[in-house]
Amino acid sequence: MKVAYWPGCVSRGFTPELHGSMAKIAPLLDIELIELERGNCCGAGVIAEHSQELADTLNARTFALAQQTEATMMNICSTCQGSQTEAQERLDANAEYREQINATLEGGGLRYDKGKVVNKNLLWLLVEDIGLDEVKKRVKRPLTDLKVGPFYGCYIIRPTDRLGIDHDRPRDRYMHMLIEALGGTVIEYAGMHKCCGFPIITMNKEASLKQAGRHIGDAIDADADCLVTPCPLCHLNLDLQQPLAERVAGRDLGLPVLHLPQLLGLAFGLNEKELGLGRHVVKPTSVIDWSTAVVGGVAA
């Protein structure tokens, strides 16, 4: 399927391995990525904190670009999903407001129309549009015996009514379902639906790192081999900052954190290099050991 692909900022900045691994798994899933190169930052809630109208206009601009492709819009960042959905909720709720925003967009030759843009994170697209059965068919190396802790990121699970999460559409359980579909073992731990702390890393560093450190520690105590997250900002706090979180938590951590496409890639038989696993701050040794052990097992 064709998607209007919104990679976000961080996947092309501080977590290049995310954008890279997405490009690698897309053809394996028959996803054709029409990259929205002209799109702009979603504001990550920070621009909205400064000016709601500015954030909504900027997001409407990206939606308008997606609308031109006539394909479903797909993002790979929980924070983009949340910020964009928030903007879209306001744009769709009120025709007068929408027209005010469109009046600003007009000068750039763009327009956002209600009902033309469906914006889904890769995770949602996998479960709802591609289907877990289709995903399963592509698994070459099931994640047997790999214990994976899901870390969702706030923006993709709350508020539930805005994000369309209910018992019929349990988007806050999709990573559980996906890990199982890939043959892995889901590790439930206290922090899986909590905040990584990243938004306050510059405001209250200790509280921020305490959050990251605590969740990683909980996952280790629950016997996880690694975490997986659909949010590159969570990844920054959980992986890039992990050595500092270790100090604040007062214990050894060293738990690898994978991006969602990397986990898929492993199950699809891609190697660590193709998935950019070497670019993480916490070396995913346990995951790589697991993958070579499985390959060895198959060969034997």
């Binding site: 702009n40 920070v46 009120n94 905040c195 959050q211 070497g278």
Partner: protein, 388 residues
Amino acid sequence: MAEFTLRLRRYDPESGQPPYWAEYTVDLEPHRSVLEGILQAKANEDGSIGIRCSCRAAICGSCGVMINGRAGLACHTHLDEALLGGRDGVIEVEPFNNMPVIKDLIVDMDAVHWKKIKRVTPWLIHKEPVPEREYIVPHENMVDVTQSMACIQCGACVASCLSMEVDPLFVGPAALAKSYRFVGDPRDAQQYERLKDLAEDPHGMYDCTHCFNCIEACPKGVAPMNQIMRLRRISGNDHHIVDRNNGDRHERAFVTLIRGYGLLHEAELLPRSYGGDSWFGKFAPAAGQEMASSLPVVAKAVMRRKVSIKGAMLGHKIPKADLKDVRRIYDLVEGKDERNELNLYITGYDEDLDETPGVMAATGAGDGAAASAEQGQPGMDPEDSPTR
């Protein structure tokens, strides 16, 4: 009638015994509340179960508990609904997080919730001169603060606050929402002082992590996090208050960087958040200190080719024509005299209004807004009455 199993966390700190789980089976119609279930267990099985409650109609805010790990009112949660969120066919009920337990499901609201509320001067400090009769307040202004006035002081947001979980000193969602109730009130004389106070507090309004947990937990739609964002907006934009925690600098740097690049330039954001919103920000002593403390992480990121030196220096940009468009949008929106904010709690959705005859289908803070706002405040504190 149907059978439901409640698993309650029991704890009596005075007993010297550790907390334990106890299961009770109750027989009630599925639409009855979790509170009724607890009260039935208390009446039929164990009279010593501790639960605080009064109105049983989601107005008094007494019976807040964690139900299957989520904060809410026991009287406002149906048993069948709770069962769907439970595991192994059991409804798990615990005392609120972030507050000390007095007994079983009763927490010490004074120790945390009320202490924080008192922290924000929760009363109106009127402007001088005092008018001979009542203050006349513009309708839009009053509608604007109705959302925070809908608070029933149940503490569900405090119990669910993920920032407070790691930083008990954080002023927290309920108190900050309460603060907005006065910051947004044109009769209050101390808007600046209130905001300055919350900016000076190292655990003040910039400690919120945007986790949305308080929005999710609130049974009254107060959306405390949204009120916190409005506090920040007024503080930074209208009063140019620079807080102690880099919150305002961070926001400014972020907004400026998107104007400059169209995308986030992370390597610039960090030093500017500490050192100030310009390219020279990184040379400020505060930025230097921070960079030094982050050096091990930065070095590792460069070593692993996560970040290239070139990428960190130049950042990434969107195409020229689009960047021009983004800047044009910035100029237009930032150039407006009035802040254009849409609060869906007040205005509702187009469709909702269309379906409600008699309610104006127009938008903005018109008469339709007043109608929906009035419906939304059953638990309004009498002292907060707009007609006072």
